[in-house]
């Protein structure tokens, strides 16, 4: 199974079981370091035998909708709850990918999740990394999940 398929299955499982949202994947693509606007990104780093990062990028309106569903309460601005929820989504996605890449769990270390939010910012690709980004949609909202991996020689 390729990494895009792992991303799709992990994302759908997390959204359906934890947020009660059915998300529909689109065609995977390679992101070209273009800036993200009015968005929030949850990021988790990978170190060890495989280095890389896993990120979920959500436009602000999508992040509010996801957090509202996640917490079961209305959220109308990007606050600590939203940053925490988006970071936790990245954490679960990273854990799911790690389970595939490192079944015993001892060869890859995951960082603590972090969240970036702003009117315009970049999440650059790691030098020499293979990258894949999968778009998703739910209701009128969209988001992307990006994986960057650099296998050590």
């Amino acid at each position: 199974m390729d990494h895009a398929q792992h991303i799709i299955e992990s994302t759908q499982e997390i959204f359906s079981s934890m947020i009660m949202l059915d998300v529909t994947p689109g065609e995977p693509f390679k992101r070209n370091n273009e800036a993200l606007t009015n968005s929030i990104s949850g990021i988790i780093g990978m170190a060890g035998a495989t280095k890389g990062l896993l990120a979920i990028h959500l436009p602000e309106k999508s992040a509010l909708a996801v957090t509202t569903a996640f917490l079961g309460m209305d959220v109308d601005s990007i606050d600590e709850d939203v940053r925490d929820a988006v970071g936790e989504l990245a954490n679960m996605l990273g854990g799911s990918l790690k389970a595939v890449l490192d079944p015993n769990g001892s060869e890859i270390q995951l960082s603590m999740p972090s969240a970036i939010h702003g009117e315009e910012y970049s999440v650059d690709c790691l030098a020499g990394a293979k990258t894949i980004t999968v778009p998703f949609q739910f209701d009128d909202h969209s988001f992307t999940v990006e994986l960057q991996l650099r296998q050590e020689d």
Binding site: M18, L71, N91, G94, G95, S96, A99, G105
Partner: protein, 123 residues
């Protein structure tokens, strides 16, 4: 009689989600206590009667594994059962957690049914 559970996770969101899942699982907890890392969890356990602990592994200050080790060395709290609830469920990490006394592991994402199944055997 209702019981007391301690949820240990650095994510406020995840603590809320776990609390909700416990209610959805139909487990009769009178009190749900929370801690943001292992060190806070030790403090809560020292001050409250807790029946079971659900603990994340990757946390700042004191990780879930460090919490298990410290708890095992404290006679007053060492017998309180702990279930790990984490994205980290690789065999090596879970074996290490069990060697420090963890009674089980629940992988995030989880369902209320899985929580019920895992905790039901401990309560």
């Amino acid at each position: 009689m209702g019981k007391t559970v301690l949820i240990v996770d650095d994510s406020n969101t995840m603590r809320k989600i776990v609390s909700r899942a416990l209610r959805q699982a139909g487990i009769d907890f009178d009190t749900i206590l929370e801690a943001g890392d292992g060190q806070e969890a030790l403090t809560v356990l020292g001050a409250n009667k807790v029946d079971v602990v659900l603990s994340d592994i990757n946390m700042p200050n004191m990780t879930g594994l460090e919490f298990l080790k410290a708890k095992a060395e404290d006679a007053a709290i060492k017998d309180i059962p702990v279930v790990m609830i984490s994205t980290e469920t690789g065999a090596d990490i879970i074996d290490e957690a069990k060697s420090y006394g963890a009674k089980g592991a629940i992988k995030k994402p989880f369902t209320p049914e899985l929580i019920n199944e895992t905790l039901g055997a401990l309560l």
